[in-house]
Amino acid sequence: MLRIIISRLTQGILVIFCLLAITFVLIRLMPGDPFTGEKSHAAHIIEKNRENFSLDKPIPIQFGVYLTKLTQGDMGDSPTREQKVSTIIKHSFPASLILGICSMIVAICIGIPAGVIAALKKNSLIDYGTMVIAMIGISIPSFVIGPLLASYVAMNVPLLKVAGWGDPFDWILPSITLGAMTGAYIARITRGGMLEVINQDYIRTAKAKGVSQFNLIFKHAIRGGIIPAVAYVGPAFAMLLTGSFVVETIFQIPGMGQHFVTATKDRDYFLLQGVVLLFGTLIVLANLAADIALVLLNPRLREA
C-alpha cells in the first residue's frame, strides 16, 4: 500500500513538473508579453518591468528562478493585475473547489444508483430508459444545459437565481449543469461493472447460501461492481475542474476559470502558471485518492 502511494506520488510530481514546464515554454513562445498591449508605457519602463520579472533572461534560467521561488512558497506577482498570484488564487479558488466537489457529488448520487438499478433490471424497460437518458446526458454539453436550467428552472423556483454566487442555494444549478455529463458516464460504467460481477461464482454461492436480496447487492455485489466507476472518478474530477470554465462563465461564478482564460489572453505568465500548478496538483491528488480507494475496494491489488 505504502509503495503504491509512494510510486504514484513520484509519478504525480513528474506530471506536475511536466505540466509546469510545458505551460512555461508555450506561453513564452507566444508573441507579446504582459507589458505589450493596451496599457502601453514608455520603452524604458517596459524594459525595467521585464527586468523585474526577469523576462529578459533565457527561458531555462527564468524557469530555474521560478522553481526556486516556488520552493520558498512564492508564486510570484501578476504583472497585469499588480497583485500577488497567491492572493488572486486565494480569492477565486474556493468557488471553483466548491463547484467541483458539489458537481462530483451530484454525478455520483445520480450515476451509481442509476447504473446499479439498470444492471439489476438488465434488458428491461428501466434498463433501456436509464441508458438512453445517460446517452442524452453525455451528448448535451453544459453550455446547453446551463442556460436552459437558468432560463426555465431558476425563473420559476423562488430560491434559485439565474446567476451569482452568494448562498448555498446558488450552488445547486451550476453543480447539476457540470455534474450531469459525468453522472451519465458513471451510470454507464457502473452498469457494466455490476453486470460483470453479478455473473460471477461468488455471487451465485452467496445466493445459494440464502443471503437476502438486499445483502446480496449491498454487501457482495456493489463492492466489486463499482470498481470501474471509482477508477473513473479520479480523472473525472480533473475534467470537472478544468471543465468548470464554461459553467463559471454561464452562471457568473467568481472562480478560477475566468482567470485562466484572461491570463492566457493577457500573457499574464505568472498567474497562468499559478492556476495551472494548482490544477495539476488537484488532478494528481484526485488520481491518488482514486487509486487508494481502488486498493481498499479490491484486496487483490494489495499484493502488487
Binding site: 458516464y185 462563465t249 485562466f260 492566457t264
Partner: protein, 334 residues
C-alpha cells in the same frame, strides 16, 4: 462426402467479419436511426449550401430578399430577431442574419473540426500504440509511461495554449501565402483560422487511441498467424503493417466513431470560451454562445442550435455504441 450443391451452399453461408457485423448493426434500431440522422445532417450541412449557392444572385441584398438560400454572413439590421417565416425558415439572429444558413455553415465547420482532428489523432494514436505494443518490453513501458504522464495533464488547458500558439504563427504563414504566393485571401483566412484547432485537438487527443491500439496489438501478436509470419522470417515492420494493423481495424473504427463527438464538443467548448473558431467562420459552438446571450428574449436562437448539436452528438455516440456491439462483441460497455 459433400456434394457440389452442398459445397455451393456453404460458400453462400460463409460470412465475413464485415457482413456479420453489418447484420448485427442492422438489428440495433438506435444505431440505424442514428445513421439516418447523421446522413441527413451531413447532406444538409455539405450539400444544401452547395446547391443553394449554385445559381444564387450575386448581389447579397437581392439574394437576402429573394433566393431561398441566404448568405450566412449577410447582416440586415432592419430585420433582427425575425421569427421563422417562409422567407427565413428559422428566422434571423441579433444582426439580421439568416439562422438556417448560419446553422448549416456552422455545422460544416464543426463537423470538419471533428473529422479532421479525429483523423490526426487516429494516425498518431494508432502509430504510437502499435509501435509501443510491438516493441520490447522496455520501450513499451517507457512509451506508455509517457502516455500516463500526458494523461495527467488537463486537456482543455493545453488545447487552449497550443491552439493560440499555432494561430499566432498561422498569421505569419497566411500573410506570406497571400502576399508572396498570391493565394486567394478569403480561402486562406478561412482555413488559417481552423488549422490551429485541427492540430491542437488532434495532437493532444490521441492518448486513448494509443492505449486502445496498444492493447489490440498485444492481443493479436500472441496469435498463431503472427507466429507463423515470424517463423517465415518476415521483417518486424512488415508483420506490423501487413498482418497486425489490418486485424485491428474493427475496434479502431469503434473508437474513432466515439472520438468524433468528443472533439466536436471540445471545439464547441473552445468557441464558447472565445478561443476557438474565429470570424468570418462560425460554428455550432459560436451559435450556442451567441444564443445563450439572448435566451431570455429570443430562446429560439439557443434552442434551435442546441437541438441540432445535441442530436448530432447523440447520433454519433449511439452509432459508436452500436458499432462496438457489432464489431467488438467482447468489449464491455465503457
Amino acid at each position: 462426402m459433400p456434394t457440389e450443391k452442398n459445397a455451393a451452399k456453404d460458400v453462400i453461408k460463409g460470412q465475413s467479419l464485415w457482413s456479420d457485423a453489418w447484420l448485427r448493426l442492422k438489428k440495433n434500431h438506435m444505431a440505424v436511426i442514428s445513421m439516418a440522422v447523421l446522413a441527413l445532417i451531413f447532406l444538409l450541412c455539405f450539400i444544401l449550401p452547395a446547391i443553394g449557392n449554385f445559381n444564387a444572385p450575386e448581389d447579397p441584398a437581392i439574394r437576402a430578399a429573394e433566393h431561398w438560400f441566404k448568405n450566412p454572413n449577410y447582416q440586415n439590421l432592419n430585420n433582427t430577431f425575425a421569427p421563422p417565416s417562409g422567407h427565413h425558415w428559422l428566422g434571423t439572429d441579433q444582426s439580421g442574419r439568416d439562422l438556417f444558413s448560419r446553422l448549416l455553415y456552422g455545422g460544416q465547420i464543426s463537423l470538419l473540426v471533428g473529422l479532421v482532428a479525429t483523423t490526426i489523432s487516429v494516425i498518431v494514436g494508432v502509430a504510437y500504440g502499435a509501435i509501443a505494443g510491438y516493441s520490447s518490453e522496455r520501450t513499451d513501458s517507457l512509451m506508455m509511461r509517457i502516455v500516463d504522464i500526458l494523461y495527467g495533464l488537463p486537456f482543455l488547458v493545453l488545447v487552449i495554449l497550443f491552439s493560440l500558439l499555432i494561430s499566432e504563427h498561422m498569421k505569419e504563414l497566411s500573410e506570406f501565402l497571400i502576399n508572396d504566393w498570391k493565394w486567394e485571401s478569403v480561402f486562406v483566412n478561412k482555413y488559417a483560422n481552423l488549422i490551429p484547432l485541427f492540430i491542437a485537438i488532434g495532437a493532444l487527443g490521441w492518448l486513448t487511441m494509443a492505449r486502445v491500439a496498444r492493447a489490440q496489438v498485444m492481443n493479436i501478436k500472441k496469435q498463431d498467424f503472427v507466429e507463423a509470419a515470424v517463423s517465415l522470417g518476415l521483417k518486424k515492420s512488415t508483420i506490423l503493417t501487413r498482418h497486425i494493423l489490418p486485424n485491428m481495424i474493427g475496434p479502431m473504427i469503434v473508437y474513432t466513431t466515439l472520438t468524433v463527438p468528443s472533439f466536436i464538443l471540445t471545439e464547441a467548448t473552445l468557441s464558447y470560451l472565445g478561443v476557438g473558431v474565429q470570424s468570418p467562420n462560425s460554428s455550432w459552438g459560436i451559435l450556442l454562445q451567441e444564443g445563450s446571450r439572448y435566451m431570455e428574449t429570443n430562446a429560439r436562437l439557443l434552442i434551435v442550435p442546441s437541438i441540432v448539436f445535441s442530436l448530432t452528438l447523440f447520433a454519433l455516440n449511439f452509432l459508436g455504441d452500436g458499432l462496438r456491439d457489432a464489431l467488438d462483441p467482447k468489449a464491455s460497455k465503457d
